[in-house]
């Protein structure tokens, strides 16, 4: 009898472990891709662009201040978005890059973000640079402080938007992202209220997407989310996008950054 029980327990265990694996069959693919992550190619391009003298002022981005002082990149991404006194704004990685492209290199806003999202015909400088700067915080823990009133306001605004149902489908981010075990087709939807799951999300952006064959940034991911909810297009670097990024990154504090990540 004892033996039989042991056998049943063993079978149950096998079933459990195999179903745990079946729950996320895509993880195996992601792991295989991460070993030789094509996103690293974007990091290389971003590094070259970062040090290259470009724009009307023929300057590099080496003096760009990401919050830890000019040219200090290590660990800077872990504290973004944050408040910057020079622009009097809370800025995420990409809006900060844009500020530097405009002030240091003399680009106009239109020129700098001409291909803010890359496509099959164009590689995006913004995506390459983001991947490079974010990768400089690899191994650091996400640590978004809300010490400034404006940062706190952005966080609260992000929280409000996250739960605010709107649009023709009456969707909010929370519709899909506050319950465990939800999915779209085969995609597991992360529960943003689960510290483990949200950390896995914020740790890996910008990310290389296998289906798109390129690196996408958090801005692009949010744009896609908003489009999927059939709301009006999310403005690039808009307050709404910064608010949501502040909210998510702060909630993901403690995540060990590994950029670029790998996604489907």
């Amino acid at each position: 009898m004892l033996k039989l029980r042991g056998g049943i327990a063993a079978i149950a265990f096998i079933c459990l472990s195999s179903s745990a694996h079946a729950a996320d069959p895509l993880a195996a693919g992601r792991e295989a891709l991460a070993e030789d992550n094509p996103g690293d190619l974007w990091v290389q391009v971003g590094e070259r662009l970062f040090h290259e003298k470009r724009g009307p002022k023929k300057a590099s981005l080496e003096q760009c201040d990401f919050g830890l002082g000019p040219g200090k990149l290590e660990g800077a991404y872990a504290h973004l978005p944050r408040y910057f006194p020079d622009t009097d704004k809370v800025q995420d990685l990409e809006s900060r890059l844009l500020t530097c492209m405009m002030t240091l290199q003399g680009f106009s806003r239109e020129e700098a973000i001409k291909y803010h999202f890359g496509d099959d015909d164009h590689m995006s400088n913004m995506e390459s640079l983001s991947a490079f700067v974010a990768s400089k915080s690899n191994g650091k823990k996400m640590d978004v402080q809300l010490s400034n009133q404006k940062e706190y306001d952005m966080f609260k605004a992000g929280e409000y938007i996250f739960y605010r149902r709107s649009g023709p489908l009456d969707f909010a981010c929370s519709t899909c992202h506050t319950e465990k075990g939800k999915r779209v087709r085969l995609q597991d939807l992360p529960d943003m209220n689960d510290p483990q799951e949200i950390r896995a999300v914020v740790a890996g952006w910008p990310a290389y997407l296998g289906t798109k064959s390129r690196v996408l940034t958090m801005q692009a991911r949010l744009y896609e989310c908003v489009w999927q909810m059939r709301m009006p297009d999310l403005g690039y670097l808009s307050d709404m996008s910064i608010a949501l990024t502040t909210y998510l990154n702060h909630k993901g504090n403690g995540a060990v950054i590994k950029a670029p990540g790998v996604r489907r």
Partner: protein, 106 residues
């Protein structure tokens, strides 16, 4: 413009595990751009991998290879510090050569 490759070569016994990532659009000549124009063929035609100057792989590729190709090669008889060089040439005669030293097994 030919961007650098990312090459990793690590020793496993006397075999070097070489992993090469290349940044290339690999256009098939069948895709249309946003304006509806066909994007002309643009793909890597030849890939040559050398081990200390001796050719170990001489491959001819077609447009059937994916965008941003990945190539994995096992090189027998390699030692730590050996030079692995990779050169690709595409159908527009653009070229790129990158070289790494084989790293000892970690």
């Amino acid at each position: 413009m030919a961007e650098p490759m990312k090459i990793r070569a690590t020793l496993q016994g006397d075999v070097a595990d070489v992993r090469i990532l290349m940044l290339h659009p690999m256009e098939t000549g069948q895709r249309k751009d946003a304006k509806g124009q066909i994007v002309p063929l643009h793909f890597i035609q030849s890939v040559i991998v050398t081990h200390n100057g001796k050719t170990v792989v001489d491959a001819q590729w077609s447009q059937a290879i994916s965008r941003n190709p990945f190539l994995g090669v096992h090189v027998k008889g390699a030692k730590a510090g050996d030079k692995i060089a990779v050169t690709w040439t595409d159908n527009k005669n653009e070229k790129r050569t990158d070289e790494v030293a084989v790293a000892a097994a970690s």
